[in-house]
């Protein structure tokens, strides 16, 4: 497990969630997992979108995306990011749900190929392990 800590399988992760308490809790889970090298977090989706448009930013392995956020929702973020940066602005987007999705939302989320996984909050270590598997598949 110490080799994990030196060379975590998830290089760059982004967390987008407006809830401060949730963010702190998820950062604890992410830190304890030792699976993530570097984590950036945003509380407004627009700020994450601005960051993704920077030319010198690193490649993003995974974005953990909340849906119900003020001003720009998770869905609006997916639409805007896809429009501005193309369908694969990150290797994987994991949509974080608070409640079961209603069928309209599910339909809406399926339109984005970059969304590879839906999880129910709170974020847990198993969810991070699943991302590691998905990244391995992504590499092919």
């Amino acid at each position: 497990m110490h080799s994990d800590a030196q060379n975590p399988p998830i290089n760059t992760a982004i967390l987008i969630d407006d809830e401060q308490v949730d963010q702190i809790l998820y950062k604890m889970v992410i830190d304890e997992s030792g699976l993530v090298q570097s984590l950036m977090s945003f509380r407004y989706a627009q700020e994450a979108l601005d960051y993704l448009q920077k030319p010198d930013r690193p490649e993003i392995d995974v974005i953990f995306l909340d849906i119900n956020m003020p001003r720009m929702t998770g869905f609006e973020f997916l639409e805007a990011a896809t429009a501005k940066l193309g369908a694969s602005f990150a290797k994987i987007v994991v949509v974080m749900l608070t409640t079961s999705m209603n069928p309209d939302d599910e339909e809406r989320a399926r339109q984005f190929p970059v969304v590879k996984e839906y999880i129910h909050k709170p974020l847990q270590k198993e969810h991070l392990e699943r991302v590691v598997e998905l990244l391995a598949e992504h590499k092919g």
């Binding site: 809830e19 401060q20 308490v21 702190i24 003020p70």
Partner: protein, 257 residues
Amino acid sequence: MLGAHNDLTAVKRLEEQAETGRAAADAANEELRTFAYSIAHDMKAPANTLYSLLNRLSMMMPADRQAPQRQLMNMSLQTIDRMRVLVDDVLQYTRVVGSETAFRAIDLKEVADSVVHVLAGDIEAMGATVTIDALPVLEADAMQMRALLQNLISNAIKFNRDGVPPEIRVYSTKSKQPDCIVLSVQDNGIGIPEDMQDRVFAMFTRLHLHDEFAGAGLGLALCRRIAVNHGGGMNVVSTPDIGSIFSVDLPIKQPSA
């Protein structure tokens, strides 16, 4: 003759079906309202208990403000506080929406003055000035008018700009609609960007982080609902960093039942 009779029977049957459908929809709505009210009501007790328990636990914590236990405890208290706000707001919404509207002559000036009295603590704490102009008497539901003005005035206090004491004016003007007035609450607060203005009346919709401005996102949804209950409507005119004017069209008389 026979054909005409059959047509009449068919029309009558359709009317009966429509009536049955309406009654079923009303019953289903009523059931949902009762359900929402009961859930909110029954969650209030455990939320309050949890709040008291956490407060007691908090008093036993190490005094060191940087201790991780202390930080987790503060986050827990913040979270339970939000839950209590949510429960209270859902209760208020379902109570106002679910109750039978009782229209009678209401002096809006009296309602506004008494709301200002209730909000005196917040008004003083924020250094706010609230000016109530002459307001008309109209046929309305007393509880709903109070909830309407309380939500609009407390929003006007809450969404203030840093270092700018809230200046709030409540006034009424003639409406373009016949036999209606426009009741307006004007503030000098943060304002709402134009592309966000249609969102503010939707249920559970917020434009800010919880630590910027508290709230469940129900206040303006309730205000709009109250306007509609009175046969009126609501709108907002707003400029970021200048302020907002929330306006409600209200009929002077309600149709007699």
